[in-house]
């Protein structure tokens, strides 16, 4: 290409330089790779975990097959193990926990971010975040000393009188049971929902609120119909976190759930959850089949979590409208 001066030619070549070299020069590719590795570490840990779970439960898997998921007995003496009562207990207590914690938590978060004066909001949130650190043993003890007697003497009789026509609220009232388990879990997961949702709500750009108010909405309408939907995805993330905590909680649940591997329709009845039985029996389990059955329960919980998370995400996709923050 005669006639074009060299500097111009060099400049043109530089502009066409491969993106990779550009990236290397500015450090972006490195940053991309490095952060990708960090994100991938989660996958690495999960794969290793599942592999360990599988390897340590093969004997039980082969012996029971699908019967494990439908079996209702848990007999360490005769070696007959079935997971159904634990799956049921886990589902019921977690569902109850979310049913109570989500409205309470999101409602409190809305109040703290929209209505409360900043000083009060910060002070209350400070205390709430602190309570995420209370060991679950202490929640369990509080459950035993305060919640269970309260339920046995006042809570459950009240529910029986008012809603006793539902099979959910029938049967003998011990205080301990799935109702107590669900309520303790609700108290334990609510700090996560409040704290994270409040942050997300406060980060909603003020223009959104002003736009709604400018159109004549009341503050509540602006909050409920504009701000909260805008923050929906972040709030969902906090609920997933709460759900995860509820599914995996061991100590507090086992102290108040009654630890009876039975399936009953009533919330007053004692039940058992997967995490609780693993925590209870793992250290004392003798015999390989027993241990492997417990580890297999861990695998079942993992599979359960996959399913629940999947269903929740599908539900979100179907109820999503346009106009969220992302």
């Amino acid at each position: 290409m005669a006639g074009i001066p060299a500097p111009t030619r060099r400049a043109a070549a530089n502009r066409r330089a491969p993106a990779l070299i550009q990236g290397l020069r500015s450090g972006d590719t490195f940053a991309h790779l490095f952060t990708l590795l960090c994100a991938a570490s989660i996958l690495l840990v999960t794969v290793a975990l599942v592999q360990q779970l599988y390897v340590n439960s093969t004997g039980a898997i082969h012996k029971f097959g699908f019967r494990f998921l439908t079996g209702r007995t848990w007999d360490p003496v005769s070696g007959d193990f079935g997971a159904l009562p634990f799956v049921y207990g886990t589902l019921v207590t977690s569902a109850l926990a979310l049913l109570v914690a989500v409205p309470l938590g999101v409602g409190a978060a809305v109040f703290l971010s929209e209505l409360a004066p900043p000083r009060i909001s910060n002070a209350m949130t400070f205390v709430i975040e602190l309570l995420a650190a209370v060991p679950s043993v202490i929640y369990g003890l509080l459950g035993i000393f305060i919640l269970v007697p309260f339920l046995r003497q006042y809570g459950e009789p009240f529910l029986k009188r008012t809603l006793g026509f539902l099979p959910l609220f029938q049967g003998p009232m011990y205080g301990v049971g799935m109702l107590a388990g669900g309520l303790v879990l609700a108290i334990m997961v609510v700090p996560f929902i409040i704290s994270i949702s409040r942050e997300i709500l406060m980060a909603v750009p003020v223009e959104q609120r002003e736009a709604a108010l400018g159109l004549g909405a009341t503050k509540w309408e602006s909050t409920w119909q504009v701000v909260v939907p805008y923050a929906r995805i972040g709030i969902m993330a906090s609920i997933f976190l709460a759900l995860a905590r509820a599914l995996g909680e061991t100590m507090a649940v086992t102290m108040v759930i009654g630890n009876d591997p039975r399936i009953s329709a009533s919330l007053f009845a004692p039940g058992y959850s997967i995490a609780a039985v693993i925590a209870n029996e793992f250290t004392e389990a003798t015999g390989n089949l027993y241990l492997q059955a417990l580890v297999e329960l861990g695998l079942v919980l993992f599979a359960l979590t996959i399913v629940i998370n999947g269903l929740a995400r599908i539900a979100i996709i179907f109820t999503t409208q346009k106009g969220s923050g992302h």
Binding site: S41, A48, E129, V134, P135, I138, I194, T218, F240, G310
Partner: protein, 280 residues
């Protein structure tokens, strides 16, 4: 028209009162828990409690000095390991990732969060303790650190997503490279949310007992270095709470209180650190 407006006004007051009630109920319950802890454990708190080693039941003057130091060491190690990885992972999901891979990572992070802590403890046991042939602070810190990663990833990602796109575009338009924009513009803008996530993360693992039982074990004595078993506050709470002795029960409550104080210090430090940096 007037009627409809009156109704909307009523809904406004009513719903906000409802949310106020929610806040009151939750904070009330939580304050009650705090009060109960103080009431039951407050009497056991003393200088001896904070600095002495535990004594057998019936002997006075025992304390949980080694457990306090142990918990501090474990949390430090866990945070040093888990927070950077989690934070950077969250940065990836929010800033770099496409659609499929981040979806998988997010999903898996939620799964990992739901694994019972005892299973994580057993996992860390097989990976670290068995090869090393003994329990150690290192194993405990690693177990807790691994538990911290998924939470940090999710909360960091959500915090970064709240930063409006215009800020990123502004940085890029000024000629900064992508990572520089993230480091100097996006992350500082999201720092409050990120720190909240980290605080919750630390709080969550600070109270975990089951993973420590199989990794850090516990220790009646001081634990120098990182290679020995170490006492920790949650394990002491657990051991003392299930004992038959009233004196040990009181100490268990006091230990719970000290644990909260420890987390409070971390909380305050983190918040101060964040607000110390002046805004753009």
């Amino acid at each position: 028209m007037l009627w409809r407006n009156a109704w909307r006004k009523f809904v406004n007051y009513f719903m906000f009162s409802m949310t106020g009630l929610c806040a009151l109920v939750t904070v009330g319950v939580l304050f009650f828990i705090l009060g109960y802890l103080v009431w039951n454990g407050g009497t056991s708190l003393s200088w001896a409690f904070l600095t002495h080693l535990p004594t057998p039941v019936g002997e006075s003057g025992g304390g949980m000095g080694n457990a306090i130091v142990g918990s501090a060491k474990l949390l430090l190690l866990a945070s040093a390991f888990g927070i950077p990885i989690g934070f950077l992972g969250g940065v990836y999901l929010a800033e770099f990732g496409g659609r499929a891979f981040p979806f998988v990572v997010r999903y898996t992070a939620d799964l990992l969060n739901g694994v019972p802590s005892i299973v994580m403890g057993i996992f860390a046991y097989t990976i670290v303790v068995l090869p090393m042939k003994h329990f150690s602070t290192l194993a405990g810190g690693l177990a807790l650190g691994v538990m911290m990663i998924p939470i940090a990833v999710r909360t960091t990602e959500e915090a970064l997503r709240t930063v409006p796109v215009v800020l990123r575009e502004g940085g890029l338009a000024l000629g900064a490279s992508k990572w520089k924009t993230i480091a100097t513009v996006v992350v500082p803008a999201a720092r409050k949310g990120i720190v909240t996530g980290i605080i919750l993360d630390i709080a969550r693992v600070a109270g975990e007992t089951a993973p420590l039982l199989f990794t850090a074990f516990s220790n009646r004595f001081w634990s120098p270095g990182w290679n020995q078993p170490t006492a920790s506050l949650p394990v002491m709470v657990y051991t003392y709470a299930i004992s038959p002795y009233d004196d040990w029960h009181k100490q268990a409550w006091a230990a719970g209180l000290v644990l909260l104080a420890l987390v409070l210090v971390a909380n305050v430090a983190a918040k101060l650190f964040v607000s110390g940096r002046t805004a753009h």
